[in-house]
């Protein structure tokens, strides 16, 4: 087992986080979330008219998430445009946010959430969800709770929180295990759960518990960033 993480963090310690709300003027809601060197921006357009009509739900609004990475956000240039990976992440992002949203007020409409990763160092889908959750709140969409997200897992035989790129690539001690999670603190539910690697049940539960604590801290930062929008400006 490793006795130290590559960047010197404690095993249960996440990287430095920062949130900012209201970064895209032309959107109805927007936010940026930074965790370590990973930067996600999210913007919400809507509720707005959904075309074509057959996609509409007369009972409630439709949430549509769109996750993508800038070509230059990673070392080896990413091909522009959607991929199978980004399509899947868009889907799990939708599913992680939907449980808190109340879209009954918006029949036949759509709420579009666009997520762009401008700088990547692992944990991009989680950073995207954190930013999207703030952007939705900023857009005034009713939601029971904020959704926070982080990746947990196993690196060098240790259960850790918030794997960075170097750790994701660490092949020693059985290779890395990556578990991105999203968590809604109010009702204590995990709304995103994926796992790549191998881990015992006990370690997995430990990882979730640690992730839950980090998510609570992330939610505090979301709260701070959202309230910041209403602090006095330009006076």
């Amino acid at each position: 087992m490793i006795d130290k993480r590559p960047d010197g963090r404690k095993f249960e310690e996440m990287r430095k986080i920062e949130g900012k709300v209201g970064i895209v003027k032309r959107a109805d809601g927007s936010a940026m979330f930074k965790i370590g060197d990973t930067v996600a921006i999210a913007a919400v357009h809507g509720p707005r008219v959904l075309h074509p009509r057959f996609l509409q739900d007369p009972q409630k609004g439709v949430l549509r998430c769109n996750y993508d990475m800038a070509t230059f956000s990673v070392s080896d240039r990413k091909k522009p445009g959607p991929s199978r990976r980004s399509t899947e992440i868009s889907l799990v992002t939708e599913k992680s946010l939907l449980p808190v949203l109340d879209l009954s007020m918006y029949p036949s409409s759509v709420i579009d959430v666009f997520i762009e990763i401008t700088q990547a160092n692992a944990g991009t889908r989680c950073a995207g969800i954190v930013a999207a959750s703030m952007a939705l709140a900023h857009a005034g969409i009713p939601m029971k709770d904020l959704v926070s997200a982080i990746s947990v897992g196993k690196v060098g035989g240790r259960v850790v929180v918030d794997l960075d790129k170097e750790e994701e690539d660490l092949e020693s001690f059985g290779g890395p295990t990556d578990i991105p999670i999203a968590y809604t603190p109010k009702n204590g539910e995990f709304t995103l759960l994926q796992l790549d690697g191998n881990i015992t049940k006990e370690e997995f539960i430990e990882a979730l518990k640690l992730g839950r604590e980090s998510c609570k801290q992330i939610q505090k930062e979301q709260e701070r960033a959202l309230k910041e929008v209403y602090k006095e400006k330009g006076k």
Partner: protein
């Protein structure tokens, strides 16, 4: 929604936000906006915001230019940046933007493609310039142009290993040197009047558009857009203004750290 209003104002020689006809909004440029890019920049013109990142890859030179590398320019008009932009592959507007920026760098010879050659006829650097609109309040072209020049200016090349593969962990001493910096200025014609740096409201009222890239008083690239045309006098006037603005805007271009 303000199309008619903007047209009637033009008659009275005023603009919707009170600017002079040849006045830019506040322009600011920032470098180092994405750490995995070999060069990157953010340019804001008023509320318009564009980011540009540079990535390099190893390619094969074209047979007719065996001792040269090349550039590839892409533009994504992100749907987040404007409610009217749609998801999906780049449309005509995005492709036009990418082509204007491409020509501004390529045809003006802002980069000496010979300096991108690694092994004649075999290996060369391909410089990828990718443009993303973050917020569109009009004149994405000029914002993209300024961000591109800044992202390129001093962009670093990674080291190559023995087999000429890129070592993404380390940069070498080689940097992109701009031979010249053609600055793009975009004009619009509203109701017979010429305005510079149209904002989003004004763009809805434009009959014609002209982008001119100049450097040290010379013209290096041009693109006429939209449905109508310009007279010779109008074109001459715009070149004069573009040359004057080039001097101011050039001072904002920074070098990559």
């Amino acid at each position: 929604m303000n199309k008619d209003y903007i047209m009637s104002l033009a008659e009275k020689d005023v603009r919707i936000d009170g600017r002079k006809f040849d006045e830019y909004r506040e322009v600011s440029i920032e470098t180092g906006v994405s750490m995995n890019a070999e060069g990157s920049a953010r340019c804001k013109i008023g509320d318009t915001e564009v980011i540009v990142g540079i990535k390099m890859a190893i390619g094969t030179p074209y047979p007719d230019a065996a001792d040269e590398g090349s550039i590839v320019v892409g533009a994504e008009l992100l749907p987040m940046s404007n409610p009217d932009f749609e998801s999906g592959p780049p449309g005509k507007q995005a492709i036009e933007l990418a082509r204007i920026i491409d020509r501004g760098v390529r045809e003006s010879k802002a980069i000496d493609f010979k300096k991108l050659c690694i092994k004649e006829g075999e290996k060369c650097w391909m410089v990828f310039i990718d443009i993303y609109s973050i917020n569109d309040d009009g004149n994405l072209i000029d914002a993209a142009g300024l961000a591109t020049l800044t992202a390129l200016n001093g962009a670093k090349f990674h080291k190559l290993d023995k087999d000429d593969n890129i070592n993404y962990k380390e940069y070498g001493d080689k940097k992109v040197e701009l031979e010249l910096m053609p600055i793009t200025c975009t004009f619009g014609k509203v109701n017979g009047k010429i305005i510079i740096d149209p904002n989003n409201d004004e763009e809805s009222a434009l009959d014609a558009r002209l982008s001119i890239a100049t450097f040290n008083g010379k013209v290096y690239a041009m693109q006429k857009g939209l449905d109508r045309g310009f007279t010779l006098e109008e074109i001459e006037y715009m070149i004069d203004v573009a040359i004057a603005k080039e001097k101011e805007l050039k001072t904002l271009i920074k070098e990559q750290k």
